[in-house]
Amino acid sequence: MSTGLVVVQILNGLQFGVLLFLIAAGLTLVFGVMDFINLAHGVQYMLGAYLAVAFYALTSNFFIALLLALAAALVFGLLLEFLVFRHLYDRDHLEQVIATFGIIIFLNQAVKTVWGAAPLTLPIPEIFSGSIILMPGLLYPIWRLVIIASGLAIGLLLYVLVGHTRVGMLVRAGATNARMVSALGVDIRRLFMIVFGFGTMLAAFAGAMIAPILSVEPGMGDTVLILAFVVIVIGGIGSMRGAFLAALLIGLVDTLGRSFAIDILRLVMPPSPARTVGPAIASMLIYVLMALVLYFRPSGLFPARGR
């Protein structure tokens, strides 16, 4: 276990963390700011990936496809908001869960009907298709660096938007006391619609950006959704800063656990049981972490102010 290997694995962990943040950002925005449990965030992420693949097939240009996919996802998100979500803001969480779960089933099936069940792919855009040498024998695709950069950019954008603009202020105020904001003459419904549309676009953006390294298939959003929820629960619901730091933490814990659990266990037990126990422990780690956080700090590591 050389130092070089550890450093590379730490980088891998941070990279995975940023990837998780990209997915969790939209979720924490909608969940935290609007107090709305949107299980459909995962399928919106999937839809983003599928739309990007579809538009890429038409235009053969990743960036045009990305823009078109974002626009289409926004339209679709607003449509969903109009048809379904709008009627659920005042209902309790259980009803929101059931309704958005229905959307998951519907969209997974719809995607399969339109594009088929076979996994699809999206190539890495030409200008980012190179790679850099991370350690002897291992290349690191530049696209992954682009994903990291876009994750950081989204983080910064959200920080500025939510924390330092007038719309952001209204959104925060609406989250704390929607009625009061409404009484002050702000159209809170329209505000929520904007936030929701933006959240959908974030999910679609994550899907389109990650599509070149992952398989685009029905149900691809479901696994991701669970991880995204773990991130926002650990980070503190509604806290953008919390989501960012928690995503990095989870990325690190998961990656380092997977990389070194067996090696560490080998120090204290024979190799064969270590091989069996190691992966089991590694895949549990993030959930154990979540349980610990919930026990000691029920509102997350970095709870949003005013909650």
């Binding site: 050389s2 290997l5 590379v8 694995q9 891998n12 962990g13 990279q15 995975f16 990837l19 099936q109 399969k112 088929g116 069940a117 076979a118 996994p119 699809l120 792919t121 890495i124 790679s131 991370l134 350690m135 002897p136 024998g137 291992l138 290349l139 690191y140 695709p141 696209w143 992954r144 070149p212 390294i213 992952l214 398989s215 685009v216 298939e217 029905p218 149900g219 691809m220 696994t223 991701v224 990656t255 380092l256 997977r258 990389s259 091989r275 992966p279 089991a280 590694a282 895949s283």
Partner: protein
């Protein structure tokens, strides 16, 4: 009262005789048709239906009715659907499923009712050995065999050091065990990842650090797509030989494309297997479903031919089960894979190949036969099967 009963009895008697030779043969197809692995189930269903269509909608001269059910990859659902097929639809045959855990679930409800179960994919070791069943036939393989093909290949190619990776569940462990049965060189490392893992950078770093001659992976479906793309992107594909089972096939190649070029798999068939019946099948399948068939489709096609061949021998009779089983055992059909016969445990004795991913002239990707690794190969569990 008595008259009434007698009347009912007479009507029932009438319908019982009518159910003799003229009735339709009913076949229930159970496959996973929803969720991420749906594409495998669709291949199975399509392969079976193509065969039925080619047989003119008849098996052994009798009209056939095919009822397709989705097991949703949930054992309880699979059991309910299987029971419904047996009890309510009164099927003569059940063909399916894709996944081994579904097979274990539906085995008892189907075979205990005296219905013939034909698996066109899953072939677990327990049903090949001690728990072999007279009503159960397999047109695919015993699960370990595709992994053994790769182990034998690595051994024959004198690879010194191989890195192994599989999902952390029973089939993953069986895969690694199957590979190691024939490969005696050094194992660089043996890594088990959680089912459905997305990002493999940690594992790729480990692989690069170990710098083996080859890797052997069993990562079915979307996992395989993710890993193959990332393996290629990490620049490892040019240095390390990629051996696999159920990781690069026609169900995943549409998404892996160039990333999988030159990668190896172990299989009992490939779309370019050179015999006239297979050429015809592949062309027809592609025309009908606009996709290159994978093993799931061909094995289901063979399952339909198996039923047809057996009913030809029994002259359409499905009620004499002993005669039906004996007829099935004769494997009275020309398999798409060429030579085919059943072992005593009702699993096939067949050839196995190392297959290699290539791009065809029309731009589509498929696996192609690279080398025959085993000829007339039977599974090692057959000796534990009490059936003779």
């Amino acid at each position: 009262m008595h008259k009434k009963l007698a009347l009912i009895g007479a009507i029932m008697g009438l319908s019982a005789t009518a159910a003799g030779a003229q009735d339709k043969v009913k076949v229930g197809v159970i496959a996973t048709l929803s969720g991420p692995p749906a594409v495998l189930g669709q291949q199975l269903r399509n392969g079976f239906q193509l065969a039925v269509k080619n047989l003119g909608g008849k098996v052994g001269g009798r009209e056939v009715e095919v009822v397709v059910e989705d097991d949703e990859l949930k054992p309880d659902v699979a059991v309910n659907k299987a029971k419904a097929l047996v009890d309510r639809t009164k099927v003569d045959f059940v063909v399916g499923p894709i996944f081994s855990n579904m097979l274990i679930a539906i085995m008892k409800p189907v075979t205990d009712a005296g219905v013939i179960l034909i698996s066109p994919n899953a072939g677990t070791s327990n049903f090949a050995g001690k728990e072999c069943n007279p009503n159960f036939f397999v047109t695919s393989y015993q699960n370990d065999q595709n992994h053994e093909v790769m182990g034998k290949y690595a051994q024959d190619a004198a690879m010194k050091k191989v890195f192994l990776m599989a999902p952390n569940y029973q089939a993953g462990k069986d895969a690694i065990a199957g590979f190691k049965r024939y490969f005696k060189g050094e194992i660089a490392d043996e890594v088990y990842v959680p089912l459905g893992q997305l990002d493999y950078s940690a594992e790729l770093t480990k692989i690069a650090a170990a710098s083996p001659d080859g890797i052997f992976v069993f990562l079915p479906g979307g996992m395989g797509v993710n890993f193959v793309k990332q393996f290629r992107q990490a620049g490892l594909a040019d240095k390390i030989k990629f051996l696999s089972a159920f990781t690069v096939d026609e169900s995943t190649l549409p998404a892996q494309k160039e990333a999988a070029l030159g990668f190896f798999g172990g299989a009992n068939w490939a779309p370019n297997l050179d015999n006239p019946q297979n050429k015809k099948f592949v062309a027809e399948y592609e025309k009908e479903y606009n996709a290159v068939p994978a093993t799931y489709a061909f094995q289901a096609y063979d399952a339909a031919l198996l039923i047809d061949g057996a009913l030809k021998l029994t002259k359409g009779n499905t009620s004499d089960k002993d005669a039906l089983r004996a007829a099935l055992m004769k494997a009275n059909f020309t398999s798409l894979r060429g030579p085919f016969k059943f072992n005593t445990n009702h699993y096939p004795i067949q050839d196995f190949y190392q297959v290699k991913v290539a791009q065809r002239a029309d731009g589509k990707f498929e696996t192609q036969i690279d080398k025959k690794v085993f000829a007339g190969y039977s599974d090692p569990y057959a000796k534990d099967c009490p059936m003779k």
